[in-house]
Symmetry: none
Subunit: 401 residues, 2 copies
């Protein structure tokens, strides 16, 4: 089924839909254990909800495919994650609300540490803080002028920044310079097709100059580039589904995806509790809410099983803030799995719960991966979730006569 | 999801993957019974493995579709079984390692028995032995010369042989001459499109001459043709997935599929035990193992429920030979179902078990069709199994940023 089939069926109404996205929620047991992070967590509110909901498992991209956050979120919002796959640069740019133009090539930057012989010894430069990042961007801005193109250096968060090249004939088909491991030198930004040679030369010049400018830094003495992306635009949630969406997310990238898909993006909040409060405070003004919880993924990436359990429990404790608002449809799921066991994203399907007055009962008694196997939603591609949410919100009319 | 999406994500490593394929493993209860062949079999080793694995059901081609062995195996190895469907002739040719050229048209032959009025009375000529088959092929080779094309007669096994026509403008769109039932005459090899008229005439000439040459044979006095296939080549498992594969299979057709997909094919072995031993002996030299067990299917085709149960139990008894090698991923499944009740291949989904250190627990306690319904893999198309195996072997990188 073409995920865009639903677009033609959309009918407007006043119902409200909430997507509570716990990034990387799906997990695995630790060796010798039998329960995932979600199964281990004490989640009385989610469990109560699961009993009245329909549950299942989502495959973000496809069987065996480990998704990046970008395509995984596109799928959550009903956009084909393969067809709409883009370099992360553009998501970063949208994330910090960089004023994009059609002549832009976006790149994601890691500030990194190289040793005396040029080998990467820390891909995150000791996770420098935002203030240092800002200082370094300022230094690069001052120190680097390119012959033919404009260049912008913008802080994202911690060790991450954005570089934007602006000019004619820029192409994104360039080798990423991040070796993705320590002990190796940065990779040369070679063109991946002949027409990209000019862009590659500019990026090589940029990288060399950045190394010079940063040479006196103790930690962040190099930049690593990835996620090249040319400018591109998308039909938004309003255009496709007639929704008035609000995104509550604190990481630039998710704010970027939301912005690219035409969502209003809430001002930054500091805590998980503050995200829930922001949702309550804005509830009357929107009809679709994307509430993004990052720390489930971060603690999974850290390999910290117990800390991930605690984040899930914290989210559970705030769930009544949403349920008391009585949205017509409440979806709780993740963009992908991030098992602490693997300390990375994984290909395992993602537990999902959809709560509405029109859910047909299933036998799920508790929100967890194992229970979701036998949920009424079955195991389905994530991209169809939005259609199900719209249907339960009575926002889709009949197909055919 | 396009099954070839995984190809771009492949990263090499040293992990090992074993596919233990019990041909036709899926079954049905006999009338009055409640258990399939697999559920009836005493399989302590498979059950122990199932508890620690993730289980599910595979659809080789699609709902309700009974697969031939060719497409069913293509699907197992991650090749779209519909797009890559080929006439069995080419699989037979590869199976006996026939030196193929681009000018070849391959045909599968059954030696058969016809009665005085030309009706087929035994489609397998009493399952003649290999020696008789060789004698007959020699006789045909000596007795038949065609005007315009080269022709090759090659023994496959028992009543099965291969005919290869070599020359220009050969097409495969010809009616098969095997009536697929007794009491009917062989079908005339009519062209299925006008351009195939010349090829059809050559095949008609060939069939007539073969009938003459074989007229003094008591049993094998006729040939029946099917599985016409023009030459075609495929990217192999090495090219697509970076694997170094070994096939251990004793039937020409499966050896053929393996060869077509670039696998090294082990020398013939006599028993199931010998196949397991061959795997152990070659374990260090390869990283993907296709271990094919034919008798589950053969006994299913015979309609012999008890004998199929015994084959499954025999395979179970040798399972420790594999598990003691501790492969990173062990898959146990079949290419399709062959219920003894039907004495033929069937459309029923195939139980599957995937064992690795990164399996999320499900509630399956025993390897059987009914338990697999509730397995964590769900019910998925067979073609996605290879991607899952590669993912669990950590041989696929992330999709998108």
């Amino acid at each position: 089924m073409n995920p865009e089939l639903i677009d033609k069926l959309v009918v407007p109404n006043d119902t409200k839909i909430v997507f509570l996205i716990l990034d990387g929620i799906g997990g695995l047991p630790l060796p010798g254990g039998d329960k995932t992070e979600l199964e281990t967590a004490d989640t009385p509110n989610l469990d109560r909800l699961a009993k009245k909901s329909i549950c299942g498992l989502l495959d973000p991209i496809g069987y065996g495919i480990t998704p990046g956050s970008g395509p995984a979120h596109f799928a959550l919002f009903g956009y084909d994650p393969v067809k709409n796959n883009v370099g992360r640069g553009i998501l970063s740019a949208a994330g910090i609300n960089f004023p994009m133009t059609e002549k832009d090539l976006f790149m994601r930057v890691n500030f990194a540490t190289i040793d005396g012989s040029g080998l990467v010894i820390d891909r995150r430069a000791g996770r420098i803080d935002d203030e240092t990042n800002k200082r370094l961007c300022h230094k690069l801005r001052e120190g680097i002028k390119l012959k033919s193109h404009e260049v912008f250096f913008e802080t994202e968060k911690e060790h991450r920044a954005l570089i934007v090249l602006r000019g004619d004939n820029l192409l994104e088909e360039i080798e990423e310079t991040d070796p993705q491991k320590v002990g190796a030198p940065p990779i040369s930004p070679e063109p991946l097709k002949p027409e990209a040679a000019e862009t590659a030369a500019i990026i090589a010049e940029l990288t060399d100059k950045a190394r010079d400018v940063l040479s006196d830094e103790e930690k962040a003495n190099m930049i690593l580039l990835r996620g090249y992306a040319k400018y591109r635009s998308y039909p938004g949630l309003s255009e496709r589904f007639g929704l008035k969406p609000l995104a509550i997310a604190n990481y630039p990238m998710y704010r970027g995806i939301a912005r690219i898909l035409g969502m209003t993006v809430n001002s930054l909040t500091e805590t998980i509790e503050a995200e829930f409060t922001a949702m309550r405070d804005n509830y009357s003004q929107y009809d679709f809410f994307f509430l993004h919880i990052k720390p489930t993924d971060s603690r999974g990436e850290d390999g910290n099983f117990d800390a991930k359990v605690k984040v899930i429990e914290e989210v559970d404790s705030f769930l009544p803030v949403i349920t008391e608002l009585r949205p017509d449809v409440l979806v709780v799921t993740g963009d992908h799995s991030t098992p602490a066991l693997l300390a990375s994203h994984s290909w395992h399907p993602v537990p999902v719960l959809l709560s509405s007055d029109t859910c047909r009962p299933d036998n799920v008694e508790r929100f967890g991966e194992r229970e979701c196997i036998n949920g009424g939603l079955g195991r389905i591609p994530t991209v169809y979730l939005m259609g199900l949410a719209l249907a339960h919100a009575k926002r889709l009319t009949k197909f055919g006569a």
